[in-house]
Symmetry: C2
Subunit: 116 residues, 2 copies
């Protein structure tokens, strides 16, 4: 059994043409012999956003804290703590922080694809 | 894309010899064509607990709110919002609420096993 606080993992920071103010951490993955799926935790700073993209694997997302929006199927949808998002494979998506606090969410992916 | 608040799903309640004060919801699963893994969200009332058991599949758990403890490898470990737990297959585990608020966590399992 592995028990950590997500914040104990060193983050990878993403600030580029596509992502702004994003920190990502792999909290459960192949290094834990988790062989079916992988948990990452992301923090998005005020005004920040993840890239708008699609890929051949799904996301299962749980919003932990903050306020934001997810883009999908041509429009933005509001998110709050406790929101759950399923993004099927190959569907375009993006998340942005529209609140005044850090937006924090767990985002899970199947094994065998890039963990972060 | 599916976007819901977890609380919009009707809960299953568990109050028996093994579990006390537990409500569980499947928020992403086979009905969504999520074919690799399944997200459930559990609420454990003050003083409540999940069953102490083991099974042939793993858990990936994110603690959303409240305070509690997880039993594993012979002792109890403290949990708080933001805690992450990986329970490998076949390892005995149990979660209990030791705080004064509802303990809320997302618990993910691989596809092909009982969703709840």
């Amino acid at each position: 059994m592995k028990i950590i606080h997500y914040a104990s993992v060193a983050p990878n920071h993403f600030d580029n043409d596509q992502a702004k103010g994003v920190s990502g951490r792999v909290v459960i993955g192949r290094n834990d012999d988790a062989n079916h799926f992988c948990m990452r935790v992301f923090e998005v700073a005020q005004g920040g956003h993840t890239p708008r993209h699609s890929h051949a694997w799904e996301h299962e997302i749980f919003i932990h804290a903050g306020e934001g929006e997810v883009y999908g199927q041509g429009k933005w949808h509001r998110l709050q703590a406790g929101s759950v998002i399923f993004v099927p494979a190959d569907e375009e998506h993006q998340i942005r922080n529209t609140g005044s606090e850090i937006l924090i969410f767990a985002c899970l992916i199947p094994s065998g694809v890039p963990e972060l």
